[in-house]
Symmetry: C2
Subunit: 354 residues, 2 copies
DNA sequence: AGCATTCTTGAAACCGGTTGCAGAAGGCCG
DNA sequence: CGGCCTTCTGCAACCGGTTTCAAGAATGCT
């Protein structure tokens, strides 16, 4: 198996290229089958220019015959884009983020872009790893469905790739943010409880200094103020955005003998935990204590009793975020909109016990 | 800077290449900065061969200086692999699939492979679309976390890319399947209810002919048989694997005045729905009716009352699936293992009312 | 009919990496 | 001190598409 040799320009030596297992059908094969060049085939596939019907049909037949699908890596390399949107949420198994991802997936489906989901698990370091990974993979845009990164870090990344971030307000080149009106949502929740006659309303917050939590606390306070009820810091206890935090909050309040007739929980998961702890303490919801959540997760419909909640449609937030990033990668300035906030009254809230 | 010239082949015309916005730093730039060729830089990055410390340090410095990250598309094209595992589940927002994906994500994290999640929504057509998309994108392997595809279709795909599928038993080249022992799980659940003295036990099934559902039904029947209790088909009602189905099942049973003291639900979500419907009918769980689920979703811990369930650790199934696909892409034959089945007794089941 | 213009089409450059091959450099031995 | 072996390193082929450029064909116009 001897190869000849040339002086100035050695001719292409088509040696076997190592153990590279290629089996897929390539554009070139399709083109040969259809009797055209690869360029023409490419143009037909992408409708880049007009081509005679005859050739078009020949190529389409060849594509069908071989069941040809262009290699995404090659296309991505040539085009400099991957038709992929990176999506970083905090936990893939969480019902909250699940609904958001579902919204993103749904909106992206019809667009030819595919989502690439990763989870930051509320750790700044992990989130950075995700960002680097996504950028390496050449995603065309990134949605941060809530983020643990600093504003400055976000702005820096936004210079490399279009970014949409939810859960904060931040304006910068190549970056769009979407914030739901947490304060107003909290106001709506509180108004509902106040209308039912509650005066001693506990608030189960999130981690301290979490922006969402602060806004909702502000709404809590302003609602009390409007109703002429003095703010009692003893009624505000920290949580962790999860069931565990809701449970601890109830234990803490009851063990300290702080009286209350209703609880406003920072999110539905916290409310679930609160309900369970109340159950353990022998309190009935809503007869003894009313409980209201925030987010209106799908599962809240099926709690026993079904949970009253402030609805912000996480799924719709996801859809809006996807819509925005699509606008951005298309080079347009996106119209950001957020879904409306509404109160969903179910059976975990009732008139204060007379 | 004169280049040599050849006759037949016209010299490369380095024309401006249209409006292609490239901004990223390339291997070539790094190599030039470090004073080596691109090949050497590549070899250093991939540790393909030994290189003198001097050059290694120079290249590493250049990489750090430019914050260089190799372009994944180019690498994927050259290597013919993408370091990506496609994962198809049925619904990204479902707690069941969420836990599975979490397991997969967790196992893959430490391996250098990234998961690419897509959802089939229980539609064969959508699942095919996902498969095609994943293959186009050149994923190195695919995990089907349950699948609506036929065995034959699966085998066909397995010839193009390594596949791991959960929820069925199927052996073929390039394909590994993982099935949990549904029948045994059902047996465990039933034994628990029987031990508590229940004799009239309803079974809320899934869709008809769903393999999991059939296996669990078989377990249900065999448990009854061992206990010497005749099988009463009126106690078996169809569900849909969701809350809605659980609710309808309860209504159907009670409207038909079929007496029962316990319910075995095909999965936890169904059990949630059943609990709610029982609540609506004024029945208490577990005082009047005991309810047991299957899967032990995380949220079952926080139901009111906390749900007794058969645990198969969906997350661990995900981890095992990920482990298996990693073995396969590495060219090894995987050792498939599935997590053990165990009964988690909580508060939704109790002694039959005397 | 003759010339300008527009359409089609293919050859080859290019995207940014990896890698076979071979030449250069250094080490060891007789 | 020359020959043979290793070890490093660079050139250029390649992965599979897209796109520029230019040539050839077809059409339009006077």
């Amino acid at each position: 198996m001897k190869k000849h040799k040339s002086k100035a320009v050695p001719p292409p030596v088509r040696g076997k290229r190592g153990p590279r297992p290629r089996n897929s059908v390539t554009l070139k094969m399709v083109a040969r089958e259809a009797g055209v060049s690869a360029s023409t085939a490419s143009r037909i596939i992408n409708r880049t220019v007009n081509v005679s019907d005859e050739l078009r049909l020949a190529v389409e037949a060849a594509i069908a015959k071989f069941n040809f699908r262009p290699n995404a890596a090659a296309r991505g390399l040539a085009l400099g884009k991957t038709q992929t949107i990176g999506v970083i949420s905090q936990a893939i198994a969480s019902p909250f983020y699940g609904e958001g991802m579902r919204g993103i997936e749904h909106r992206l489906q019809q667009s030819g872009y595919a989502p690439l989901f990763m989870s930051g698990n509320w750790q700044e370091k992990e989130e950075i790893r995700c960002m680097e990974e996504l950028i390496t993979r050449g995603v065309d845009g990134i949605i941060l469905f809530t983020s643990a990164l600093s504003d400055a870090a976000l702005k820096a990344y936004a210079r490399k790739v279009p970014i949409v971030v939810t859960g904060r307000l931040l304006k910068s080149k190549g970056l769009v943010s979407m914030q739901v009106d947490d304060r107003y949502g909290a106001l709506v929740a509180m108004r509902h409880l106040l209308d039912l006659g509650h005066r001693r309303i506990a608030f189960v917050a999130g981690f301290e200094n979490h922006p969402d939590a602060n806004e909702r606390l502000a709404g809590y306070r302003s609602a009390l103020e409007s109703a002429g009820i003095p703010y009692d810091p003893k009624l505000v206890v920290a949580g962790d955005f999860h069931e565990e935090g809701g449970m601890q909050a109830v234990y803490q309040l009851m063990d300290a003998n702080i009286p209350f007739t209703a609880m406003f929980c920072i999110n539905d998961e916290t409310a679930y935990g609160a309900c369970l702890a109340l159950f353990r303490k022998g309190m009935r919801v809503p007869d003894d204590i009313s409980v209201i959540g925030f987010d209106d997760l799908r599962s809240s419909t099926y709690r026993v009793p079904p949970l009253t909640s402030v609805r912000q449609s996480v799924q719709q937030v996801g859809e809006c975020a996807a819509e925005a990033i699509l606008q951005m990668v298309a080079g347009r300035r996106p119209q950001v909109s957020v879904p409306p906030i509404e109160l969903v009254v179910r059976e975990s809230t009732g008139r204060v016990a007379g």
